[in-house]
Amino acid sequence: MTAALRFDPIRLPEKCERLRKEVRAFLAEEIAAGTFDPHKPNREDTDAPEFSRRVGAKGWLGMTWPKKYGGQERSFLERYVVTEEMRVANAPTRRFFVADRQSGPVLLKYAPENIKMDILPRICRGEICFAIGMSEPNSGSDLFAAKTRATKTDGGYLINGTKIWTSSAHIADYMIAIFRTSPPTKENRRHGLTQFLVKMKQPGIQVNPIGQITGQYEFNEVVFTDFFVPDDHVLGEVDGAWKQATSELAYERSGPERFLETYYVLTELVRAVGPNPDTRSAEGIGRLVAQLHTMRRMSVSVAGMLEAGKEPVVEASIVKDIGTVWEQQLPHRVRDLAAFVEETATNRETLERQLDFAIKTAPKLTIQGGTTEVLRGIIARGLGLR
């Protein structure tokens, strides 16, 4: 038997449910105060620094990190619940989300102590924003084709080259990026990349926004010209970033943000259909809810494995693969069903506005965080095919 794939039925412990209530109450207050509109997914004023600070003050950023760095030493499952509720409510999380999910854990693992003491507490307070510099022009998902050079100089490195598709670079205070410190070797084309902490908003970095088909500006081109990075900003092993990158990705790929990106259209469909649906609407909703429920069970299951200290690389890739395909299809299935919704449905306008945005968002969902083709390659490797 293959038997490599496990998705145990993990249940969230009682303390998670108490926390969930707290998060819901907090979000309800923010909505009442006009911080954001849960029915408007196209968050044009998505950078919400004050909201970010209030979330930090609640202790909901860096929740799993050691207390000496400002963390709460809470469980990964508790963090999971906070993420779910923020996502379902369409809360403006852009300012802190990447730092909380990925950058902080990377710093915890690989940064020198002085950097950790400086930066991690500020992430926990919701004060700073991170970007991730992976893709480059003409490399994209092929991480190991990155060319942007880090050349050794006195006390540090000089960076020259361009990163692209970098989400939030225009508002970010820091970026964790991989740069080429040596050429790849014949034996290992993954060799020669190093992870660096980059302080943004300095001379030598130019951030050029790229418009998206949703009408938003979210990702950017980032050009480095003789940009200096000091030695203590090297994260982990020089030339060995490829070893560091893979375990990090399980966190990026299996979370609730990988199947709830377009969830709002389902809520509004149920609202528009009303309490007594016809057979077609009922069946359509039932199938979508069954998918949603299954995705969530798989995602919670992977969260449980991460909590237990495992590295479920293949399972996380499966969640990302079918999760993003699901959230990509969802707006189109909802559109099918919405065709029969009464013109007089009270939320018709909201539903149409949401569908318009979700349909424009959908094409990117299978690309960000690892394209479907790359993920299927990872799954295939896990099955022993390569």
Partner: protein, 354 residues
Amino acid sequence: MAESDNIVVETAEKIFADLADPQTINNDRKDSWQEPLWQALSEAGLTLSWVPDDLGGSGASLADGFALLNAAGRFAVAVPLAETMLAGWLLAQAKITSPDGEMTVLPASPRDRITLDADGALSGRARGVPFAKAAKHFAVLAHGKDGVSIALVDASKGRIEAGLNVGYDHSDTVTLDKVQPVAIKPAAKGFDQTNLMLMGGVARSLQIAGALESMLDISVRYSNERVAFEKKISKFQAVQHNLARLAGESAAALAAATSAADAIASAKSFNDEVYLEAASAKIRCAEAAEKGGAIAHQVHGAIGFTMEHILHRYSLRALAWRDDFGSESHWAVELGKLVANRGADELWPLVASR
């Protein structure tokens, strides 16, 4: 659930490996494998695992029984194990002692009804009843004027029109015409036909998930053996991506089915959360059977389409199991109604309830 340290599952897997090897069964056109397999399962107490000791069973937990059904799915076992387990479980809901031998449960479709007349006789028709022809007894859920009753019926008292499902297993129409049961008692308060359908649906979900695990397994193995265009076909990216999708379908089915089983095993009643879990499992597993089975056949090419190959033992059964205890269409409509009725703002709290 694979690699179980569960003693019930270990016992079952050993019996399946010895007596229900798919290739041996496939080569045996006379069905002579059935009797020894049934004997072994029966002697090990597995067929009545959901029946308490004092009602003639072996008193395994619901969780262990579900794990056993998942293992049965991995071997595409085609004896009435799931059916007898379900029948024993149903009888136990009314504290009726289970007899020896093969049983099945009816009705097996949410659209069929058996009624209890004033004189204590049972009437009605149940379609698609798995293994009715092989059963010595039926466990029957019946509606009378005082509510729901559960009855044990001698199978020879029913009229059986034999049929075969898409997996070549017996799926029969049973007609009861004023049949006096061997035993009959009122069901526990709150127990109804929907509960029986959800329980049967989860049993089938676990079997489908098990069959998909095996389909993934044999498809991966075959792709590493079969050479075409001078390469193992596992080295072709298109084949790798198909198998990755099959792994996804298999994983989704297993996650949905085991979660639903866990929900039933740990719940005090069939509440909305259990309904969501059980209905979703049946819907998602049925969809996975369709998509996953198609990929497994695609990988195997023509050889997988032959009676000589074991693939059809899994693929056709997984497809057939979709139809028992409510198809995915049925449960999707019912789940959709439940969700719509609770209202839009209750959907996420329901999904995120555990």
